[in-house]
Symmetry: C2
Subunit: 298 residues, 2 copies
């Protein structure tokens, strides 16, 4: 989950649900192979699939010619705004690194996974792959040099994500952003993002809630998502701490202190889409703490 409220382009966090499963195996072939068991459309060409682009960037660094066979059971829909390409890129390098005896730490895998993001969207963003690899909230303070900061968060924090059945391309969603912002809005955004990370670290739910305002991307991008204002209002009225666009949309997420509130917020958000005749999927998840994990050993 990237673009967390005022943390537009710099703050993301990891979810327990939805999560992709990837079977990663060493292969004796001379090319990587990709098998799709997802029911979602994926590029099977290893030159085009983000996962193998990311793995090749890692192998290149190692000077290794090892090839891998990747079987995808994706649950995060491409184009959902929930970091689908990031999950593939980060999961693939995590699995391949594991099978190679872990020459890299999860933190060191971030730049490789970013190569997958670059292949997917044209720019090597880290705000999805870094949380996917490290878990929790992650601040991408800077790209040059790359500075990835884990932000300790409260033990209890739940996320409701609603993915409506509409489609927005990440590239379009970036194009509609203005290239300048008013000084006043820049300062407001700075105040809120500083407040948000302070609230997370000091476990101040009041501050987290009051800081969850994005005055830069949300006012523009929310126009691309039908019913956005109503969905947000429904989440807040259900007791969520804050609500904003997930990634570049169309998914919308809300943060809540308690699981029952997260469930209630998710239902209220879904209901707005239902009334408008738009189908949606809802996921309720604690903020993930540990990032990727190995589900079964080889």
């Amino acid at each position: 989950m990237a673009n967390v409220g005022p943390g537009f382009d710099i703050l993301g966090f990891a979810l327990n649900q939805p999560g992709d499963e990837i079977l990663v195996e060493k292969s004796g072939e001379n090319v990587h192979s990709i098998i799709n068991q997802s029911g979602l459309s994926l590029p099977l060409d290893p030159v085009k699939n983000v996962s193998t682009v990311a793995i090749d960037s890692m192998l290149n660094q190692l000077g290794s010619t090892q090839k891998f066979r990747l079987t995808f059971l994706k649950k995060i829909a491409p184009g959902s705004g929930i970091g689908s390409s990031a999950a593939s890129s980060a999961g693939a390098v995590y699995g391949a690194n594991h099978l190679l005896g872990s020459p890299f730490t999860n933190r060191e895998l971030v730049p490789f996974a970013m190569k997958g993001e670059e292949a997917a969207s044209g720019s090597a963003h880290a705000d999805n792959v870094a949380p996917a690899l490290l878990g929790g909230f992650v601040l991408v303070r800077s790209y040059d040099p790359l500075d990835i900061i884990s932000i300790p968060g409260p033990d209890q924090l739940y996320c409701s994500v609603v993915h409506p059945d509409i489609s927005i391309a990440t590239k379009d969603s970036r194009k509609i952003l203005k290239t300048t912002v008013s000084l006043e809005k820049a300062i407001t955004q700075c105040g809120n993002v500083a407040g948000l990370v302070t609230g997370l670290i000091t476990r101040d739910y009041r501050l987290i809630s009051d800081s969850m305002h994005d005055v830069i991307a949300e006012p523009v991008r929310s126009f691309l998502i039908p019913e956005y204002e109503k969905v947000k209002k429904a989440a807040l009225e259900a007791g969520a701490l804050g609500c904003s666009i997930s990634g570049s949309g169309p998914s919308i997420f809300a943060l809540s202190e308690h699981e029952d509130i997260a469930v209630r917020a998710g239902k209220a958000m879904e209901n707005i889409f239902t009334v408008a005749g738009i189908g949606s999927n809802v996921f309720i998840s604690q903020v993930n703490k540990q990032g990727m994990n190995v589900m079964t050993s080889e």
Copy 2:
């Protein structure tokens, strides 16, 4: 000290040195009186002096007609960029509140002290008065509603401030700022201010240092301060964690982890001005923790 690097307009901290002394006494007269023992020019008219403007705002809230006599021994020069008017406003309401039996907490005094800032600069900023009253680092997350957040900082943090003998009016220094910033710079500033508060709270000196970049105000305002780039370079070469403009200048401050580095940085900064034929005053101070204090009891 306001405008702490990327915390332009939203982050300040309190210094032990320089500090003003104000003798606050209840008066039997029917107007406030102001006595200046500072050797610095101060308005003596209680309608124009920021301290009495601030006190009247507090008395108004209390419905009190009490008058005060204020004797100033100011050590913070007006126009220095070290929060001279804030020290007067905050100190005056602190002293008067104390003599009235402390009807308000220090936090509750912030809006009254802001009235003094409004009289001084035309806008009711809190980023100097709030640290002066509360001590430590203070984030002004929002003005509407006013949201003042104390940021826990490292136990060891030293500031070197150099005040060169040149004059810049706060109003001019705000006028030269552009009213818009690029989206890219706004995001960079957000990343750095989030990194800075995270570094302060988690006592991560590396992160504090790497986050001390202001891409919005400093590149414009530094043109008003002769030798600025050289002074900054000298501070960093002496080992300071970061260096930026104090308030709206012309003072320049540097933060250091150890006192001896702060002393060395201060000397190096002063030396640049000396070589350029510009006199300056240097102050070395630990970041103040407790804010205002009563020096002698009544």
